[in-house]
C-alpha cells in the first residue's frame, strides 16, 4: 500500500509517495531540477551537487541535495530561488571548466545559466559522476570497477588497473557515461575550448518559466528521469 505525504515545492502542494526523494517527486511533476549523477534506477549519492534546493525549516533555509532528501509531510522546498540559481550556475561553471568536451556537460552548463567560464579549461576524461560504478555494482553486480584513490587522485579503475575476467563487457558503463557524447561541432582541441551555448534546451524559454521542464534531453541518450 503506497502512502502519500504532502510537500510544498515552489509553492505547489504536491502529493508525493512516501519513501521517494524530493528530486524524483519534482521531476515526476514537471519541475526541472538539473542533475548529473542521478539516474532513476540507481542509488543516489549526492556527488555532483547540481540538484541542490532550499529546504526551509523553522524559517531558515538549508541547502541540500534533493536526490538524497526524502519527502516528508509538510516539507517546504524551493528549487529556483536567486540563491540556488547562483550556486548552481557556479557549480556548473566548475564542471564545464573541467570537461568541456562533452555535449551533456555543455548542455548542463547552459541549462544552469553559465554565461562565461572564469577558470582555465582542462580536458578531463571523467567527471567522477559515478554512474558507471553504480550500474556495474547495483544492476549487474559485477563489481568490476570502482572509485580508487582519494581527493584529486580519485578516479575510476579496475582492480589493480587490469580488466578482470568477471567484467562481461556489457557496455552499461559506457552507455551511461556523459563523456562519450562529443560536442555538436566535434571535440574541442586544447586551447580552443569554449562554452558552446547551443543546447536545444533553449535557454530563453527556460528563463521565462524558471524550473519548468523544457524537454531538453541534457544531451542525446542521456535522458533525465522524465524519459525513464
Amino acid at each position: 500500500m503506497l502512502q502519500y505525504v504532502n510537500v510544498n515545492i515552489d509553492g505547489a502542494i504536491i502529493k508525493a509517495t512516501k519513501g521517494t526523494t524530493v528530486l524524483d517527486t519534482a521531476i515526476e511533476y514537471g519541475i526541472c531540477i538539473p542533475h548529473l549523477c542521478h539516474v532513476p534506477y540507481l542509488s543516489d549519492i549526492g556527488a555532483c551537487r547540481l540538484c541542490i534546493v532550499e529546504h526551509v525549516v523553522n524559517g531558515r533555509s538549508k541547502i541540500t541535495t534533493s536526490c538524497t532528501l526524502n519527502v516528508e509531510e509538510g516539507m517546504v522546498i524551493r528549487t529556483n530561488t536567486e540563491r540556488i540559481r547562483k550556486l548552481r550556475r557556479n557549480l556548473a561553471e566548475l564542471l564545464v571548466a573541467q570537461a568541456p568536451n562533452s555535449r551533456a556537460i555543455q548542455d548542463i552548463a547552459v541549462r544552469c545559466g553559465v554565461k562565461e567560464v572564469r577558470y582555465p579549461f582542462r580536458n578531463e576524461d571523467c567527471v567522477l559522476c559515478g554512474r558507471c560504478v553504480r550500474v556495474c555494482t547495483e544492476i549487474w553486480k559485477a563489481r568490476a570497477i570502482g572509485f580508487v584513490g582519494r581527493g584529486k587522485d580519485r578516479h575510476v579503475d579496475f582492480p589493480f588497473g587490469i580488466r578482470p575476467d568477471f567484467c562481461k563487457q556489457c557496455g552499461s558503463c559506457i552507455q551511461l557515461c556523459p563523456m562519450t557524447i562529443p560536442p555538436c561541432n566535434g571535440p574541442m582541441k586544447p586551447g580552443e575550448e569554449r562554452l558552446c551555448g547551443q543546447c536545444e534546451s533553449q535557454m530563453i524559454v527556460a528563463d521565462q518559466i524558471p524550473g519548468s521542464c523544457v524537454w531538453c534531453e541534457l544531451g542525446e541518450g542521456f535522458a533525465c528521469g522524465r524519459y525513464a
Binding site: 563489481r143 568490476a144 570502482g146 580508487v148 582519494r150 579496475f158 589493480f160 578482470p164
Partner: protein, 163 residues
Amino acid sequence: MSHQSLEQILDGRRSQPNQLIEVLQDIQENYGYISEESMKAVSRELGVPIIEVYRVASFYKAFRLKPAGKNVLTLCMGTACHVRGARLLLDQATGQLGVEPGEVTPDGLFSVEYVNCLGACALGPIVTENGSSYHHMTPGKLRKLINTLGSYRVEETQHVSTQ
C-alpha cells in the same frame, strides 16, 4: 617489524568485512606494504569484493601499495611545523634525494613521506626516520642526516645525532 604470517593476521577475522581496515593495518605493519597477492587473499577470506579491498587500500594514507625504501623519512607538515619552515625541509629532502613524496630512490635506500601532524608541535619542525625522531630540524641538519644515513650499509638503523 614483528612478524605475523598472513594466516595469523586473518585468524579470527574471516568472513567479517568490517575487519578490512584492521587486517590491512596488520599487513602494513608486518610486511611494510600491501601486495596484490595479499589483497586477493584478504578479499577471499573476509568476503569483500576485490575492488573494495583495492579501494580501501588506495584511500588511506597509512597503506603503501609499493615497498618503501630502507630509510623512510617522514616529515611533519602540520601548521606549527609549517610556521617554523617545514616546507623548506620537504624541498630539501625531495631535492637532495631526487624523489617526490611517496617514491623510493633508485638505490632503494630512501623514501620520503609527509604526515599531517605528529602531535609534538612544540618540538617542530619534526622529521622521523624508522622510529627515531629528530626535532627543531633545519634544512642544513636534514642534509647532514640524509648524508649520514646514506653512508650506513648496516641492517639496523641507528639514532643519529644532529648536533
